[in-house]
Symmetry: C2
Subunit: 586 residues, 2 copies
């Protein structure tokens, strides 16, 4: 039920309706939108600071421009809640029953006002350059706008976009939304450049945008609707590329989000009165605490360990390392390519870099994994989070990292089945100084397990012997293997259960021995089947009589589909697997 | 035998020996190095313009700095011939018998003066930031230098490097070697920015480097040894990051290379008197002429086709499109991420973008293939060159593109077996307006073949029926399949031969039917087995009695190893395959 039937927002069916409002009404709208962002986020969680900061700019944009003919590409699109509310989707904020009816990112399947599914940073200017060029080819004249945050500017693709934007011949508007924050504190030369521009009210000659030949305009009051309307009006239908640099306040309207911007970039459900999260703290130990304890132990042992990440310290709880051991910490900004090449440079000089990456964002550094690290066979250590079926948005799926990491020569890619195994893998990874080693942080809870101290130079499978059928459960799908083995017992099959440890290398001896008394090998991986671990097993057994059945995620983009639903569709429930096995053995 | 025993260069055993020479002798050395570059390139082919342009800067660097303690990272490292000659490897230019004894790129296995195997652009600053940070952690003080060309500046990773360089606290020297060229003409805002700096002798306030907080120095005469020595002396042991912008002449010392820089960036063997290549022109038609004819036909038909590439028009002979149809041509500079995102933007506006990519460089755009194109399921068309076993340097291997492209949802990845099939695939790709389609340009010669006009929406295998054994030969390995089938006849096996057309999608009907009268399916792909096409076949047949044997490249970096040698080691010779098959069938 609509919680705020009195809100002016109820009358905004499309941006056209905005144009009839006066300034006071527009300001009321801004206030309503802020209330709704906070109300829904407190229940559902979601991006908070970026959306609170962009309310006025969004209202002004839709007041001045004529969407969907005029087009705006929101970088990352984590700041599109106000945009969605103004483009026929306010119901998903007004009515708590409909909170889940609208997706959290830009989504063309949801609305003609969204042009791309977007979830990674730094793409907006590049997309806009292509759109602008195509518009010109077609003889059209609409305004094409990219809105990009200062945090996203550190990503190389953003720069590639600006470089090409400077070559475009006609209309192209790049709004740089400068809230002086990335996901965490922003870093690098970009920070300096933007600061000089802000402090000179856009007047300094030290301007990287005009240096590249781009036109430039500054708005100091990016949270003032009037100022933003005037700014947009002054550049609407401009006949050349321009950068509109706006100064906004991330988290505006909610004090705790202004005081601590990093922790309010994205929030779990929380209490609006106390700002405290309503989600119970994760049980300890868990992968995050294991990894942090490991890091601290080595740093305090005076070892030359450098924890490197690309603007996501929060994902791994690296805040403690940042604050307590700044010498051992490096955040390169949203710049995954740099993070991996930086690690390659550092390891060559003789220290031990440990990269902390998110599966989906690591895709940006695919070439560096090979060209800078693996082709040089450098002992970089990398921890990968989010590598599995998680039910997230289609731009954030973490099911492709087995194919991404484990198909390069020289990389080891380990997947622990317990917390103690994770610890053992981390210890070995920093001790061996021979090859690049990646370790997957489980996305599903794993047990603490028995103490392990193992050398993974040559992969040796852990085997709980049985016969006829062998279940190989990689990483956090080992538990699925246990369930399948248990269920098979009720069918009078005493199956073998295997922890293969590595997504990159096979234990040929173990696989060869299985041929003596097994007919079928089943592989389970929490990742895409295509290009993954299981297909290596299928290929290895190809020329033999051994049958192999690969389980994992299908080759498709799921979009905010719950994990359980994906499991069912992909036949990843224990009973489904058992019935498949019985069918194969018939 | 040493062709120039009289050369002063013979006395330079290490950079230390340089320091004893006077300016006149250093200039003589520069002249000798130029002679040797031209002599060897005229016989062997190789990079020409970049090396001719960097001679003086290299001599000055080694005169002033103390390598290998002081370290220099050469971006792309295609300009390291002078460096190699000054670091104990001159024999490979002086003695024609030893021309092949030294590799063409930076190579740590070859010399302690080389720190990384490098072959892709824009990595040097990023690597140097990691080295500088690690050096500081270890309490060392050597000079760390990155030398990067203006062309490489357009790559986003270069910018990520600069952004982080600005944060480094101690010595870091970035030499921007500005020869006013990329591989082809350089593009974008970077060109404007550098031009303003050159024309103001480095004095303009419009300076993108100082805007980011980096120190900056300009040398107008980058081909003057004295000027370069003075410049390097003035910044040696500097205690903060600095950009040394040097103006050099690409191709200096060889008039044809100055007059036409693009065609002399990299050369085939040529006649030093006439500058004409001594390599016979490739037979026509070939994949390049087929693709060009296709493009021209559609452009002249007034279709909204846009040919997009990232600084490599020469690879596809796109110069003609650039000159004759500029409206239908876009070079985004060395910026593969931008090229793919640009195409995604363009297709969304309703035109037909055709991307031209090199397998190895496309790795840079891995995330865009998914995030911007496939997750949005946009009908971008892409032609991929160099996707196969080619015997090139380890940084340039093209064996990973089946895993890179064909494991994403929504992408089709077609591999033609004949020129007419290539044509048919191109025609279908631009006509279907539903999904992203990539097409592999064969690396081995393929026959013209029969005329084809096919719809590839649903993959249907072409089958020459036999029994017992089926050979599936993907793309230009179809011919290998033909040879295997012929050889098998002499063993009284009448094998089935299949053209599977796609590396991404299987023809399940055809595969199911093979089960009736076949025991073994052999897959042949000109690409890495791991994560590739064949493993999908192995996985599909996994739960059946069908045996499968996958052939392709092993998971390893080969380095300038001749193709034939790789073929033999990877069991890709027809007789090896046949003997494997007989062994499996035993």
């Amino acid at each position: 039920m609509n919680k705020h039937p009195e809100f002016l927002l109820n009358k905004i069916e499309s941006p056209k309706d905005l144009k009839k409002l006066n300034l006071k009404e527009l300001e009321q709208l801004a206030s309503e939108i802020r209330t709704l962002i906070l109300e829904k986020d407190s229940v559902e969680g979601g991006h908070l600071g970026p959306d609170l900061g962009i309310v006025e700019a969004t209202i002004a944009y839709h007041y001045v421009f004529d969407a969907p003919k005029d087009k705006i590409i929101w970088d990352v699109s984590h700041q599109t809640y106000p945009h969605k509310m103004l483009t026929s989707r306010a119901y998903a904020w007004l009515d708590p029953d409909k909170y889940k009816d609208v997706t959290p990112y830009s989504n063309p399947e949801e609305s003609p006002y969204d042009y791309f599914a977007v979830g990674h940073t730094s793409t907006s200017v590049a997309l806009a350059t292509g759109m602008a060029r195509a518009r010109d080819m077609l003889g059209e004249h609409e305004n094409i706008t990219a809105l990009i945050g200062d945090g996203s500017l550190t990503g190389g693709l953003a720069f590639e976009g600006f470089n090409n934007a400077a070559d475009e011949k006609h209309n192209l508007i790049i709004v740089v939304n400068d809230n002086q924050m990335s996901i965490d504190d922003n870093v690098g030369g970009v920070v300096t450049a933007l600061k000089k521009l802000r402090e000179s009210n856009g007047q300094t000659a030290d301007n990287p945008f005009t240096a590249m030949g781009l036109d430039y305009k500054y708005v100091g009051q990016g949270n003032d609707i009037k100022a933003m309307i005037n700014a947009f009006k002054s550049i609407k239908d401009i006949d050349h590329p321009i950068v509109l640099h706006i100064n906004t306040l991330k988290g505006k309207g909610y004090e705790p989000a202004i005081e601590n911007e990093a922790s309010h970039h994205w929030v779990l459900p929380f209490d609006l009165k106390t700002d405290k999260t309503t989600v119970p703290a994760p049980k300890t130990p868990n992968p995050t605490t294991v990894i942090l304890d490991f890091l601290k132990k080595h740093i305090e042992n005076q070892e030359n360990i450098l924890a490197i990440n690309a603007a996501i310290p929060g994902v791994f709880g690296l805040g403690e390392i940042k604050n307590k051991y700044p010498k051992n910490y490096k955040d390169v900004g949203i710049a995954e390519q740099e993070s991996v090449a930086f690690a390659a440079g550092a390891v060559k000089e003789g220290i031990v870099p440990v990269l902390f990456e998110n599966s989906t964002f690591l895709q940006r550094a695919y070439d560096q994994l090979s060209h800078d690290v693996a082709a040089n066979d450098l002992p970089v250590v990398m921890v990968v989070a989010g590598g599995g079926i998680t039910g997230t948005s289609k731009t954030h799926l973490g099911i492709f990292d087995n194919a991404m990491v484990a198909n390069w020569p020289n990389w080891e890619y380990l997947a622990p089945t317990t917390l103690n195994e994770l610890k053992s893998m981390l210890e070995w990874a920093v001790k061996q100084r021979k090859h690049p080693v990646a370790i997957k942080s489980p996305v599903n809870p794993v047990p603490e397990g028995e103490a392990v101290d193992e050398d993974y130079s040559i992969i040796k499978y852990d085997i709980k012997p049985g016969s006829k059928v062998a279940i190989i459960g990689l990483g956090d799908f080992y538990q699925l293997g246990e369930k399948v083995v248990d269920l098979l017992k009720t069918e009078n099959i005493n199956a073998t259960l295997i922890n293969p440890k590595s997504a990159a290398h096979l234990d040929h001896d173990a696989l060869d021995k299985l041929q003596n008394d097994h007919e079928l090998v089943v592989t389970l991986e929490d990742n895409s089947i295509d290009g993954g671990f299981g297909q290596k097993i299928a290929s290895y057994y190809g020329p033999t009589k051994m049958m192999v059945k690969n389980y994992g995620a299908k080759k498709e983009y799921t979009d905010n589909e719950p994990k359980k639903s994906i499991y069912k569709r992909d036949h990843l429930m224990p009973d489904q697997i058992v019935s498949d096995i019985l069918e194969i053995l018939k």
